[in-house]
Amino acid sequence: MSNILEIRDLRIAFRLDRKSEPFEAVKGISFDIPTNSTVALVGESGSGKSVSAMSILGLLPDNAIIPAASTIRYGGRDLLKTTMRDLQSIRGKDISVIFQEPMTSLNPVFTVGEQIAEVLRLHMGMSPRAAAARTVELLTEVGIPNPALRVNSYPHEMSGGQQQRVMIAMAIACEPKLLIADEPTTALDVTIQKQILDLIAKLQASHHMSVLFITHDLGVVGDIADTVVVMQSGEIREQGPVKEIFEDPQHPYTKALLACRPRLDRRPVRLPVIDDFMRGDGHPHHLEERKRGTSPSDPVILEVKGLNKVFSLKEGLFGKRLVPAVKDVSFSLPKGKTLGLVGESGSGKTTVGLTLMRLHDATSGEVLFEGKDLLRLSEREMMAYRRRIQIIFQNPYASLNPRMTVGQILVEPMKIHSIGKDERDRVDMAFQLLKRVGLSEQSFYKYPHEFSGGQRQRIAIARCLTMKPDVLICDESVSALDVSVQAQVLNLLQDLQDEYGLSYIFISHDLAVVKYISDRVMVMSEGALVEMADSDEIYRHPREEYTRKLLSSIPKGYELAPQPS
């Protein structure tokens, strides 16, 4: 089998400023992309995987330095040494890219049809008429329903999954020989992720092209990749056929990546993390099975009855449209347990969380916290309860104020709720909490932008803990994190529950994570409750069709992996 692309000794460094040494992002990697096959490039954030892929098309920022010894051979020439003009003729035509965020990759002021047709006219020299016809064909091929009508849609009129399909249609428009997919499913729900993965696999086979698939989640590549390349801090740790990587991983890092994702069939007391494999005796500990589930006799801390939330959207000049986001949802949260809330985007699960906190006003219903209806309290009475229900948001990059130091972030809520005797006392408590969530004491004086995503989520958790809450709502709190970091944060959340007896409402679209952390699971769809049962029960015997659909879309790749012991 011949190779379409051969990367040899690729080194990439970035010049950060005039004084310091350039930062080495990629430290001499070599791998091949064979014709007509899929290569997965797997690694955590900052492993250099995206940078390596972008260097193929010369899409690196100006401060990147690539030594002359590095080569990327494509069709008899070295892409690192071709002129910008030659590269432009290759980009989009021979090699095309799909990015992570379809929302920001599409131009919002043009219809999707115009955007695809533009590519066809530019690279294929098609007449506008031929391009329009081909556009409809392409949209059909990527599975957009009613394509003849949808060509005239603007990007915002489509869902995230459909936008990603349009991006794929654009990428395959010129029959590229190589498709680079940079985390194409990370921003999508599990069900949509599954569809997009299937689509990419199908197109790869039908167009006889090669795919370079970049992801942080080893789990998703199991189904579609032929070869897997595992990267860590700029170096390749292991590469080989997908079967070997999954069934007989050699490098501890690969083993760790395979093990740290929660599995549907097992629930260890602690999730294995990277450090378990890379340090100490090289084995994870505390893998014994954890008991989950609820019993009717559990004391209830929070009870929700008939919760409704209707948004009114402005339509036209004077019109209003009512959009029900949550429809008659009732549930109860036992003390010290975790209630998982699962559903696709737009199912209303986040709205439920925000309404409980009164960050949204509920339209009707009751939220009984120790028998007191939170929705009927005045703002002043609510203050006392505000402290006791806290929320951790999805995006750790957005939920911390960038202009406050970690110390200020932690001390502020204590000041508001008069926790601690004086400033000194509060600062002491902040230091203890930092230690508790596994951050150094120096963090107190730093700003959020100096931390990684997982560390920031720890800060957000510490901020909630300052108020000693009883209920913690985790709104997709680990969804934006790499799988390996996700495992650490899940372990932390579990430890805190064991230690302080916190009750969690855990909102996520990732069923494997929900299964791992929850005692009871509630499935939502289009604002309504679909099914609710103990977590083992719901995974073993899902009653509703919708639940079964959700379950079937979990990537199966990692289930091939050997069980860590």
């Binding site: 400023d17 005039r18 925000l354 906190m357 960050l359 203050m383 505000r386 402290r387 806290q390 929320i391 948001f393 999805q394 995006n395 990059y397 957005a398 939920s399 911390l400 104020n401 960038p402 202009r403 406050m404 130091t405 502020e412 809520p413 508001i416 709720h417 000194r424 006392d425 600062v427 002491d428 408590m429 230091f431 203890q432 004491e441 120096q442 107190f444 004086y445 730093k446 700003y447 932008h449 100096e450 957000a460 901020r463 108020m467």
Partner: protein, 355 residues
């Protein structure tokens, strides 16, 4: 949780760089930014020195002949000075009116008495370093003194406008709804009136009623009360954007009040907009003071500003005396350019792409 740590660990020896420290570091790497910062600092120092009387204290002394030539143009003919000298020379001898003047017999006595008083005729210089104005005042000193009013008006006017604009913008953007409607309506009324007309209307009212105070203060008020609209709009947009951000929701979740969310949480995140606007407004108001003074609504006659200098210059230019125009114009151009460049650098330094 009892206090286990009796003493919190001391802050690290090298304090973690805050956003301002980082911004300062970035600015220091920017040569253009640093040069313009130096120029602006020089002007500010000059203004302060002049204000405290360290320099240019006796700017009003008539030290040269009328329209004294700049030293480097010493050879040029100065017709105005000659005409003036000629006028004085022509005074003597006066026409003899002793026949009909009833006071004539006393002239002698008066002359004797006058002779006893020592009159020292000041020696007026033929040339001054950068020329003189109509009354022979040194143009350089005059420019330094003028900077006092111009820069003060520019800076304090801009500061006040930015405070008004930021406050109203924050209100409209954060609260939305009715508050926003009222403020938007107010804003629309303000912006629908042509700018110069609005300024003149304010100036006319200010001078007629004297309610805004006199002189410089009234100019500052006029400029800031008419100039807040632009920054209002920008800050309002920023607040609309930020009030839905998760960190603000998070602040609400921990129980922070509206006021705290508006000014403690959001304001530091949008302050770069205000700051950059501040420097742009300073530039604009220095120019606006010139226009106002030129139109006669500016500073009182006993004071000098770059605006009054430019106003005088229009008559001088006709007779070929360009130095006053040049001195005021060039200082203004240098300061304004430096300030604008500094603004650009500040924006780059203060708006870091936060990870």
């Amino acid at each position: 949780m009892s206090a286990v740590l009796t003493h919190p660990p001391a802050p690290p020896a090298q304090e973690s760089p805050g956003l301002w420290t980082l911004a300062w570091r970035r600015l220091r790497q920017d040569t253009v930014g640093m040069v313009s910062l130096a120029v602006v600092a020089f002007f500010l120092a000059m203004m302060l020195a002049s204000f405290t009387g360290l320099i240019a204290k006796d700017w009003a002394r008539e030290r040269g002949v009328s329209y004294a030539n700049p030293s480097f143009l010493a050879g040029n003919e100065n017709l105005e000075a000659k005409a003036m000298a000629g006028k004085q020379a022509a005074k003597a001898p006066p026409v003899d009116l002793s026949d009909i003047d009833p006071l004539a017999p006393r002239y002698k006595e008066w002359e004797e008495r006058a002779a006893k008083i020592a009159v020292t005729e000041t020696k007026r210089a033929e040339t001054l370093p950068f020329g003189g104005d109509k009354w022979g005042r040194d143009v350089i000193l005059k420019t330094i003194k003028g900077s006092e009013v111009s820069i003060f008006v520019g800076l304090s006017g801009a500061l006040l406008a930015v405070v008004i604009g930021t406050f109203l913008g924050a209100m409209a953007g954060y609260w939305g709804g009715k508050v926003n409607d009222v403020l938007e309506w107010f804003y629309n009324v303000f912006t629908s009136i042509p700018y110069i007309l609005l300024i003149l209307a304010f100036a006319a009212v200010a001078q007629a009623t004297g309610k805004f105070g006199k002189g410089i203060l009234s100019i500052v008020l006029i400029l800031s009360l008419t100039g807040w609209t632009g920054i209002y709009r920008l800050i309002r947009a920023e607040y609309i954007k930020h009030s839905n951000r998760e960190y603000v929701k998070a602040a609400q979740a921990i129980g922070a009040t509206n006021l705290s969310r508006m000014f403690h949480h959001i304001l530091p995140n949008v302050s770069h907009v205000s700051l950059v606007q501040l420097s742009q407004y300073t530039v604009g108001f220095i120019k606006a003071e010139v226009i106002l003074s030129f139109l006669g609504f500016g500073v009182p006659v006993d004071q000098v500003s770059w605006g009054t200098m430019l106003a005088e210059a229009q008559n001088e230019l006709v007779i070929g005396k360009w130095w006053q125009l040049f001195a005021a114009g060039a200082s203004m151009a240098v300061l304004v350019t430096a300030f604008s460049l500094l603004t650009d650098s500040l924006r780059d330094a203060l708006d870091p792409k936060l990870k």
